[in-house]
Subunit: 449 residues, 2 copies
């Protein structure tokens, strides 16, 4: 640090003696935002409490955006250092700060799109002045432009070190015992208000599936229900579907055969996010029970019982295809493994499992992977078929099922008679967008970007 | 190899003396399938020749599925070994062969979906009998099931070693000189036949963009044109669009401002594959020239001029978002780098570049990456803005533009007056499916799966 900057830093310290006390007020307490969201509803439901939203709303466990009173804010040619009361010091490069200026000329206040010309920022930019106040850290650049970063923004986006401690998403992992108390919401409530939708998507997020009771037994009502989350995703098979068993679509899903548990659309680069099933009619026959399996729980069991198999299914890439119709052969841009993890935080985010749609596996990095793959697939299949894993339930008219196709595997038993089912897909990105906007405030959301 | 299997292998050799001579007939020559596809059209166009389809149709450069007459087919407890006339020997594990049985009971002949129960195959399965004929290699399993693998199938899917030598996709990389002879097809031809569509998608694949001339100046005709490739992808902004400049959509694309080159929808897990623009009207004003940049060519230049920058843009992950509308905040399931490569073959497959939609970058594996990123972004931006890189052209009514949004960046200059534009997106998976089915035969396609 230069002598000049030390001097300014001391000035800074002198000019902001009260940051430590006042900035606590700047960060809204999470509980005060979310605590009462569902208190106005009358029906008792544990997921209406704050808890379920906190499971999605990644919350800082030790967030204290309070600047230390006992240490100096300082800067040199490269960076600003901010000491927090919690004992850590954050490091922000000037170049990064200029690029991330939050003023309305640099970032559109409504869209949060970047307006500043990143590429015109001098490589070795540094501020002419640094000033702290209750509003935040103000940097004055040599061209006169001013950037003010609120303390809570700086704390939230501190990258060296990362300060926030995200609570792990509190998924409720379930086995067959979920049959005793499966998550369910009411159609009227979902259709009536965004709070109803918020409860619904929060349950889908927590459990990976949810029933909706009291749905009028029509395709129209089912379609409107899905659209409370987002528009229906169209595929080469169409958008909203309404079918009885035949082989018109040239896919085994459209027969009356039993279907082992699988995820849908492993042949897409971006597999379907949510899927809804609503049984409209089943007459003159029986069977056709639905089965759901919590894939995240199954993966957890696999990792515990057979770490090698978990590793194999996380690494071996499986080609997939949908080529039943003569005019299409859908394949993802690249093969994907069964177990897909977030590239930054390593969390399991997506399961792709459809043994029927697996194409010829003729690309192996290591010949030993061939046997390892079959061993791992067998171990995985065994877990999926265990009694404690499988959750069987008969769909019935008026009670729609929606599930997260990146987490929950589904299948059905064979059936006879006339069976009419309708439903549709929602993209993962659109469902997550809905979850994000319904289970947070606009202010908080924009600040996170 | 056991004595018994040696014996059988010798028998095999004796029983199939003519494989070497006859199997040449089994693989259709690629040129005979594709050579005359466009010969019936009258208009001269170099892309109508075989060449352009070969650039997509990955073709074996030294494919010779001819079993050697001079070496034995053999097998042991684990595998079958097939010596090819070209001097290589392929290795196929019994377990893998049983799982990949091509018979109609094991794989649905129309959908090519797997029917065999993979998980019931004994871990140490081996055939009771092995027999070769002109039809291929026949394995008889201990339960009596027979699997016949045609020689060309075995050669095509040989995984140890891989035998095929794919020709690199012959993209035509272009700079501003493309203005002299941009790829173009005719509306009537595209609407009239699948051969017209085949030529169109093959040009899009080769150049990353293509004009369509003679399009009726209506939204309806434009929509029908897009749908010749696939259904239009819906997003939170809608499906097919038709707009004049306003800020209704809360995105800078909907203003009359200049837009630097970018790719669309960096905020999706699966960015839009193709995009069409059709200018329906521009009156009482001027400006609004379109700019296209071949991102694959720009990346090639970057890799040559500044390998470190190429590496940085291939590794640093950029968070993106679309949050202009209060009821949505779209974000991909994970941040992606600017330059995305195929995980198996390492080829550049996708460019994501929209500096406006970049969210706060507060996750860095290495602090040095911060400066490296800004240096790399500046180098990349410099290449994108070079005169030889930019291809400017004025859109005009009746001439629709379609481009590959994973490869080609687009932008526009500012404009005045009333400007009405329509268009839509197509998913990459659906476009590639169309390309695959139009530029191959069904037989060949099914064999590749």
């Amino acid at each position: 640090m230069t002598t000049a900057s030390r001097f300014i830093a001391r000035m800074l310290k002198n000019s902001t003696p009260s940051i430590g006390r006042h900035s606590l007020k700047l960060l809204p307490r999470v509980s005060s935002i979310y605590g009462t969201r569902f208190n106005s509803t009358s029906q008792p439901d544990p997921d209406r409490e704050t808890g379920i939203l906190k499971t999605y709303q990644v919350t800082k466990a030790d967030a204290r955006p309070v600047v230390s009173e006992h240490h100096e804010i300082s800067f040199d040619d490269k960076k600003v250092l901010i000491p927090w009361e919690e004992g850590k010091t954050s490091y922000y490069q000037h170049l990064w700060l200029r690029d991330h200026c939050q003023c309305p000329a640099c970032r559109h206040p409504e869209t949060k799109q970047r307006l500043v010309n990143t590429f015109d920022i001098p490589r070795n930019i540094k501020p002419a002045g640094v000033e702290g106040s209750e509003a935040g850290l103000k940097l004055t650049w040599k061209d006169g432009h001013e950037s003010v970063f609120p303390w809570d923004w700086l704390h939230l986006h501190s990258y060296a070190p990362r300060l926030e401690r995200y609570l792990s998403p509190q998924f409720h992992l379930w086995g067959s015992e979920i049959e005793n108390n499966p998550p369910e919401v009411n159609y009227e409530e979902v259709m009536a208000s965004n709070d109803g939708v918020a409860l619904w998507v929060a349950k889908i997020y927590k459990y990976g599936f949810c029933y909706v009771s009291g749905v009028p037994v029509t395709p129209q009502a089912t379609k409107s229900l899905i659209e409370r989350i987002a528009f229906i995703r169209e595929t080469h098979y169409g958008g909203f579907w309404d079918f009885t068993a035949d082989l018109e679509k040239k896919d085994m899903a459209y027969t009356n055969l039993a279907l082992g548990v699988h995820t849908d659309t492993t042949y897409f680069t971006d597999p379907a996010g949510l899927q809804m099933f609503h049984l409209l009619e089943h007459s003159d026959g029986s069977g056709g029970q639905s089965i759901l399996v919590d894939g995240f729980r199954a993966a957890k069991i696999l990792r515990e019982e057979d770490p090698q198999a978990y590793k194999t299914l996380s690494n071996v890439r499986i080609p997939a295809h949908a080529s039943g119709n003569p005019d299409s052969s859908i394949q993802p841009f690249a093969p994907f493994p069964v177990l897909n993890h977030h590239p930054s935080n390593g969390e399991l985010v997506q399961i792709r499992w459809n043994n029927d749609d697996r194409a010829t596996m003729d690309r192996w990095d290591d010949l030993e992977d061939v046997e390892k793959f079959y061993d791992a697939a067998r171990a995985w299949n065994d877990i999926l078929r265990r009694q404690g894993t499988e959750y069987w339930e008969q769909l019935r008219p008026g009670r729609a099922l929606i599930f997260d196709n990146w987490r929950v595997l589904h299948g059905r038993s064979a059936f006879s008679g006339k069976r009419r089912l309708c439903g549709g897909y929602v993209n993962m990105d659109d469902y997550k967008s809905r979850l994000r906007t319904l289970c947070s405030t606009r202010e908080r959301l924009l600040k996170s970007l």
